[in-house]
């Protein structure tokens, strides 16, 4: 019998609530030492993501989060029966234990910020044209004209990066105040100023949300996306050769959310 794995939890006790997962199968815990692997029986051979299956997976993880610390497992992790699960637990027990201790009582929030990159560039170009940073290069040859053009682009781009760094630094000060860990990415596209995930202790969720609202009201010309609380998808650290758990997979998470936007209301995705 194949077993579908949802996550690793910090308990060897049975799941008390009735939780139903993929294919409507009952979810249960397979204990190993003081931790457990939460699974359900699985027969389906189709491996494609469907709206129902992704939601069912996420819902099980969220239900588990109500009572346990959970290491969420990559969608569609299917193992070869109870022996397969126990072998996995044996191989990774120490890593699972370390992660569970580190992530106890913490949840993940995602923040994405779009800035008006065209306007920012325009401002930079105007400032440059006013001559503050101009370097005198004569234009008496094609080679020098080439360098002058390149230099203009270089100065504008450097200033663009500098401003992005400045904005991210300021926003991050507010968010980091209530976060235990973070991962931020700058300018994944010219418009996407910041794409960040923060690991927040459950009792600081409210403060974190308030910090977000504060930043949002301070820069109303930027556009914001706030998501969470999620299981700590982006903060599970496993050995490099393991592809079992989600690490730096915010895109997957995002896709998943986008696919099911209708379930969380028109104003949300």
């Amino acid at each position: 019998m194949k077993l579908y794995l949802y996550g690793i939890i910090d308990s060897s006790d049975q799941v008390k609530d009735s939780i139903y997962g993929l294919e409507g199968a009952c979810v249960y815990n397979i204990p190993y030492c003081d931790i457990g692997a939460v699974v359900s029986e699985f027969t389906e051979s189709v491996q494609t993501k469907t709206k129902g299956s992704v939601l069912a997976h996420e819902q099980v993880v969220e239900r588990l989060m109500e009572h346990f610390t959970v290491l969420p497992v990559r969608f569609h992790t299917v193992l070869d029966g109870r022996d397969g699960v126990l072998s996995l637990m044996q191989s990774y027990y120490k890593d699972f234990r370390d992660n569970l201790d580190r992530l106890r009582n913490k949840v993940e929030f995602g923040i994405k910020v779009i800035w008006p990159s065209d306007k920012i560039k325009e401002q930079i170009i105007n400032t440059y044209k006013e001559g503050n940073k101009k370097v005198l290069i004569s234009s008496d040859s094609p080679n020098k004209r080439f360098i002058r053009k390149k230099f203009e682009r270089y100065v504008i781009n450097e200033e663009f990066q500098k401003r992005a760094n400045k904005y991210i630094k300021v926003m991050d000060i507010f968010f980091s105040k209530f976060a235990a860990e973070k991962k931020t990415e700058k300018l994944k596209t010219e418009n996407l100023l910041m794409d960040a995930v923060y690991l927040v202790e459950k009792d600081k969720e409210r403060n974190f949300r308030e910090a977000f609202e504060h930043v949002k009201s301070a820069r109303p010309d930027f556009k914001y996306l706030f998501s969470g609380p999620w299981p700590a998808y982006n903060f599970v650290i496993l050995p490099k050769n393991s592809d079992l758990l989600k690490d730096s997979k915010q895109e997957d998470l995002f896709d998943k959310v986008v696919q099911h936007q209708e379930l969380v209301g028109a104003e949300k995705i």
Binding site: I114, K144, F146, K150, K223, P229
Partner: protein
């Protein structure tokens, strides 16, 4: 079926668009297989040349900014960079590659360029 987690934004389409754009930019692996091995290798080699060219260009710009290049040196650097850029354009055309393809995702280290 409902989730506790929420995603809140007033601009869902724009965020979806930007996320899609950011994922389109780079392949996770070098696309080299028996059918397109020549293009795959060319892409890898040109990516590395492009990286070196950009580093040279940046270094030159820093020197221009610092005012440490003489008129004669600017002339020579300009000629070199222009020729290098033209040659890269030729090579990209020969192998049917675009600028955005000349990059590599280095996993946790981020993008090469």
């Amino acid at each position: 079926m409902t989730l506790n987690s929420v995603v809140e934004t007033d601009f869902p389409e724009e965020f979806v668009e930007e996320m899609e754009k950011s994922q389109d930019v780079l392949p996770k692996k070098i696309d080299a297989n028996p059918e397109n091995v020549e293009k795959g290798l060319a892409k890898l080699v040109l990516t590395l040349i492009e990286l070196i060219r950009k580093l040279l260009e940046k270094q030159a710009m820093r020197r221009v900014e610092a005012g440490s290049l003489s008129e004669e040196e600017i002339e020579r650097v300009g000629e070199t960079l222009m020729k290098l850029e033209n040659k890269m354009e030729e090579l990209k055309q020969i192998f049917g590659l675009e600028d955005k393809e000349l990059n590599l995702n280095l996993g946790p280290l981020g993008d090469l360029m």
